[in-house]
């Protein structure tokens, strides 16, 4: 194994990240650099009458009336009925959420830029704000986009056959569920620095992004430039989670000013900007009617899903990815036959919806898992058993589900069995009973899900997106000194990809990872990749590196065969050397011959050389499915509404594990974010659309003291359809905690007659429900 696939290699990037040597956008130094601050909309909805800039700042402040050659961001979709929105990087005519950019102000320091921004006067005629999707959906609602006839980006309908379910169900469960609007809160917010490189004739954009090549395409498109005139460099990036997988309006306005002034300009998002203008994800509403038999076997599901999309569609993923994913993924790992689902993507006066780690699935998993538990309670069975019986059995794999998802491999039931064993279900039920007798409320909850990862061309095309990922490319080369260089247009921003794709190269080339240099994130130095999102990095970039490294290994053998005086088939690679029997030649000698001593080569040498670029996509476009079961044991303090964890176990299968240690880190991090979704995080608005959670004192993120000690278990079911059997796993752990934790809370509070169907389960909500239940008992009694 060495440092190849499966090795617990320490992350290459950590030395610089942990010692303060990493270079983020905020660390870059340029002569004559200007810092930018934005004048942002103070109102949720209104007509922008005028923007008045003090005369002395005319060359320091720019508005929509200056950016006349910039096109509005207008993501198109081929889905029938989709309405496109136009998002001007600086608002023109109308503002549609608090925090929308109106003017960009530049000065030598950020403080001075903010001073200038303070002196810009905006005149806005207020319009009635649409603060929630239900209001925005109503018939007489004011319009977010004046040229639309309602506030719906898109409505979709999946009309399956429900006749059998409706006829045969003995149990019908009806529920409404809500998930809160959230901010993704990467440690490093957005940040972008652009300058005009006279020599290259290029606009160079350093930006904190997951998708440098896409941003290059987007910047060129909307600034109306040739792509050859744009180079995008993603330096070290401090977390993305989806927040940085779309084109940001700030990337356009900063670039425009840099091009105009021929000076470097930088903007770094601060936390308040993030919590206000970045409040753009997770908010769903579900209406569910579930049909089951008297053992809890799910016969059918009738669902209505409303996504509070906010004002604008994001490029390139549009306003509709979320609802498309939600409608398609709601049945999740369950083998149900009847399914009907209507989705609404509703425009409101909030920041435009952006896909966040898990994309829709934290919502659907929450809705589905609570429904399964509600069914279990209704039929009086253990939720784990009901869950197991409803899961797609391993013997049915590969399995095409009711929405046409192709589950490639795995044994979902095994994950619930393992989780049940590890969490100690039977012993827990005993303890729970004893605790109840003492007035303590313990609860156990499960959350099972599938995570579609690395879905490809056809899937994205079916979502109607303007850009569709295809063949991921990577370049692998032997350097003149015999070390290896890997270049990928994907990016590593915390997931450890810099290490794991190096491990894939190490696997083929037998070179220790310390001698493998990985270059990522710079469009000037790497082949095109649509970037890191949809848990695709490891499968796609890993697969491309694997293919290129395999080809490079073959070429090395050919070159070595000449030096070893044998046939290439007789050459094997081991320990960074090429061997024929006991004789060997170092990669350094092979590289030297090609690059520096071509006189040693045959006349008929393969002139393709020792630098290989390959494109790759999996054998199927439908994605490969990781799956997991989370099990949580909580104690609810029924007097304060506070939830504490006694245990939390995750059993996961993501195919072949490239680096188990990095996978564990991904799981801890994702689950921690999921706990935030379950118990803490919530963007609140007042009736006029003003955000009430604009600091971290109001928007609560979980800290170490609030998190359980996560215990992990794994199985490995390699995907038959990807290189090395790898599946994506980056998003997974963030999906289940909402469902698992709320099921545990509801299990704990069952004796009090309390059921919470809303995220996050804050102490205030739990306590209110307990007080209400108490009150009802009093009234009844």
């Amino acid at each position: 194994m060495g440092t190849g696939i499966g090795a617990r290699v320490a992350r290459k990037e950590d030395a610089r990240l942990l010692s303060g040597q990493a270079r983020f956008v905020g660390d870059l130094k340029f002569p004559r650099l200007l810092e930018a601050a934005y004048v942002r909309s103070p109102l949720a909805h209104g007509r922008l009458k005028s923007v008045t800039v003090p005369a002395k700042y005319k060359d320091r402040v720019f508005t929509a009336s200056d950016l006349t050659d910039v096109l509005p961001i207008r993501p198109e979709s081929s889905l029938p009925g989709y309405k496109a929105s136009e998002h001007y990087p600086l608002a023109k005519d109308k503002v549609r959420f608090v925090g929308e950019c109106i003017a960009i102000c530049v000065a030598p320091t950020r403080a001075e830029a903010e001073d200038i921004a303070d002196q810009v006067v905006v005149d806005i005629d207020p319009l009635p704000p649409l603060v929630n999707a239900a209001d925005a959906k109503s018939k007489d609602a004011p319009l977010v986009h004046d040229d639309w006839d309602d506030n719906l980006f898109l409505t979709t309908t999946f009309d399956g056959d429900m006749a059998f379910a409706e006829k045969n169900a003995t149990v019908v469960i009806e529920r409404e569920y809500n998930t809160a609007r959230q901010c993704m809160n990467p440690m490093e917010g957005k940040g972008t620095l652009s300058h005009w490189d006279e020599k290259a004739g290029q606009l160079v954009v350093y930006t904190s992004t997951q998708v440098p090549h896409l941003i290059r395409t987007g910047v060129a498109q909307y600034l109306q430039m040739d792509q050859g005139q744009v180079r995008v460099i993603a330096p070290d990036v401090g977390g993305g989670f989806g927040y940085k997988c779309v084109l940001q309006p700030e990337e356009l306005s900063v670039s425009w000013v840099a091009r105009k002034l021929r000076r470097p300009v930088r903007w770094v998002e601060d936390r308040r900007e993030h919590l206000v203008a970045g409040a753009n994800t997770r908010q769903h509403h579900y209406k569910i009617k579930a049909y089951a038999d008297d053992r809890g076997k799910l016969l059918g599901l009738d669902a209505e899903i409303t996504v509070d999309v906010g004002a604008y569609s994001v490029w390139p993923f549009t306003a509709c990815l979320e609802a498309a994913q939600a409608g398609g993924n709601l049945p999740g790992p369950y083998a149900l036959e009847g399914y009907r689902c209507k989705t609404y993507s509703v425009a409101t006066n909030k920041p435009g919806f952006t896909p966040y780690r898990g994309v829709a699935r934290p919502g659907v998993c929450f809705a589905m898992e609570l429904t399964i538990d509600a069914i279990a309670r209704a039929v009086g069975r253990e939720p784990a058993d009901v869950r197991r019986e409803n899961l797609v059995p391993g013997s049915a794999m590969p399995y095409t589900n009711v929405t046409g998802k192709f589950y490639d491999s795995g044994d979902y039931q095994h994950s619930i069995s393992e989780a049940t064993k590890a969490i100690g279900l039977e012993a827990f039920r005993k303890r729970q009973k004893e605790a109840r007798a003492q007035g303590r409320f313990l609860g156990l909850g499960f959350g099972t899900f599938t995570e579609q990862s690395a879905h490809g061309t056809k899937v994205f095309a079916s979502w109607g997106l303007p850009l569709v990922p295809g063949y991921e490319q990577a370049m692998v080369k032997l350097t003149p000194s015999g070390s290896v260089e890997v270049r990928s247009g994907n990016h590593s921003f915390g997931q450890g990809l810099e290490t794991t794709i190096g491990q894939v190269a190490s696997e083929w080339l037998t070179v220790d990872i310390s001698k493998i240099n990985v270059v990522m994130g710079d469009t000037g130095m790497t082949p095109y990749s649509t970037g890191a999102y949809a848990s695709r990095g490891m499968v796609m970039a890993g697969g491309a590196v694997s293919k290129a490294a395999e080809e490079l290994a073959a070429r090395i053998r050919v070159h070595a065969a000449h030096l070893l005086q044998c046939d290439a088939e007789d050459v094997t690679l081991k320990g960074g050397k090429a061997w024929r029997g006991a004789a060997s030649v170092d990669f350094a000698d092979i590289a030297r011959a090609w690059y520096l001593r071509p006189d040693q080569l045959d006349e008929d040498v393969d002139t393709a050389g020792l630098e290989v670029t390959q494109g790759y996509k999996p054998d199927i476009d439908t994605g490969v499915f990781t799956y997991a079961t989370h099990a949580a044991i909580v104690e609810v303090d029924a007097e304060t509404g506070k939830v504490s964890f006694e245990d939390y176990y995750v059993f996961e299968d993501c195919g072949r594990r490239v680096n188990p240690m990095i996978l564990e880190g991904q799981t801890y991090g994702g689950a921690a974010q999921g706990i935030g979704t379950a118990l803490f995080e919530e963007v609140l608005y007042d009736p006029s659309g003003q955000p009430l959670t604009s600091t971290l004192a109001d928007y609560i993120l979980p800290g170490p003291a609030e998190l359980p000690h996560f215990r992990l278990g794994h199985s490995e079911t390699p995907s038959p359809y990807t290189r090395h059997g790898i599946k994506g796993v980056g998003e997974g752990a963030a999906i289940a905690p909402g469902g698992a934790v709320l099921n545990a809370i509801n299990d704990a509070l069952e004796p009090l007659g309390v059921e919470i169907n809303e995220l996050p389960a804050t102490p205030h909500k739990i306590l209110s429900a307990i007080i209400d239940a108490d009150h009802q008992k009093e009234v009844a009694g």
Partner: protein, 277 residues
């Protein structure tokens, strides 16, 4: 999020600091650790022309131990109370309270006087020192000194008795007998966040003292005389309904969840205190 420009003064003596407050035309703000003022400046919610930092003044960092009281300099930091390097007027209470304030980096810089003057209703010292019957010593630009009882110190949320030409120099806490008991309980969303509800109870049979205080309300801490007497007399944790009825009288119209949490906090803090024996 950068502050508006301001002048920054770091006087070397208290006299120099008070002198700086003499010019009434200048919009001046005292900084005593800056753990609340700092964010307010960055958010541009506070825009003073001048900031006078007093956290380093040695005169404000002394402890004076009298027979019946301990006088704590206003610039003593939460961490110094937490670490047990300061004397206790009642066994372990101030250390316990300090340990629960925000996070260690905040406690390393934040001061007891700064916290009192900021007067966030959900902050800890405001409630704890009211329960302890403390007095705040204030000097003015003219050099006058006055002592203000904690029960009169806080006027409302972020409003106190301290005038713009005055500085809090110390907090004087009475000493309690070895038979005194205390309880302090708060609920918050997560470790280090401001509290949703606080209750404190301090009682000393020798001094015939008993005081129940509710904190994290909308304004100044609330003292309940009847509950103080009831708990001291019965030596028992009061029932939730009794506390809620009293809260209804003291703070009518309180959100029902807040009222409930305050009642629970008082029950838990009295339980804690009574188990001390």
């Amino acid at each position: 999020m950068k502050p508006v420009g301001f002048q920054f003064a770091q006087p070397e003596t208290l006299a120099e600091a008070t002198r700086m407050l003499r010019d009434p035309g200048e919009d001046t703000k005292i900084m005593a650790g800056g753990q609340s003022l700092g964010p307010m400046l960055n958010l541009r919610l506070a825009r003073p022309e001048k900031i006078i930092s007093i956290a380093g003044l040695s005169e404000l960092r002394v402890v004076d131990e009298g027979a019946d009281f301990i006088e704590f300099g206003a610039a003593l930091r939460h961490a110094e109370f937490e670490d047990g390097s300061l004397p206790e007027p009642i066994d372990g209470m101030m250390r316990h309270v300090a340990r629960g304030i925000a996070y260690r980096p905040v406690r390393n810089r934040g001061t007891i006087g700064g916290s009192l003057c900021h007067a966030d209703p959900a902050a800890d010292w405001i409630t704890a020192l009211t329960a302890l019957g403390a007095t705040v010593r204030i000097v003015s630009a003219k050099g006058d000194t006055r002592d203000v009882d904690m029960t009169r110190f806080m006027h409302g949320a972020y409003r106190t008795e301290v005038n713009s030409d005055e500085i809090v120099t110390s907090v004087i806490v009475p000493r309690y007998s070895p038979s005194a008991v205390w309880g302090y309980y708060k609920t918050c969303r997560k470790v280090g966040e401001f509290a949703d509800a606080i209750a404190a109870w301090v009682a000393d049979p020798v001094k015939r003292y008993s005081r129940v205080v509710f904190g994290a309300t909308a304004g100044a801490p609330i003292i309940s005389v009847p509950l103080s007497q009831q708990i001291a007399t019965t030596g028992e944790v009061p029932g939730k309904d009794v506390i809620k009825t009293e809260l209804e009288r003291l703070a009518p119209g309180l959100d029902r969840v807040k009222q409930h949490l305050l009642a629970v906090a008082l029950q838990r803090c009295t339980k804690q205190a009574l188990n001390h024996d």
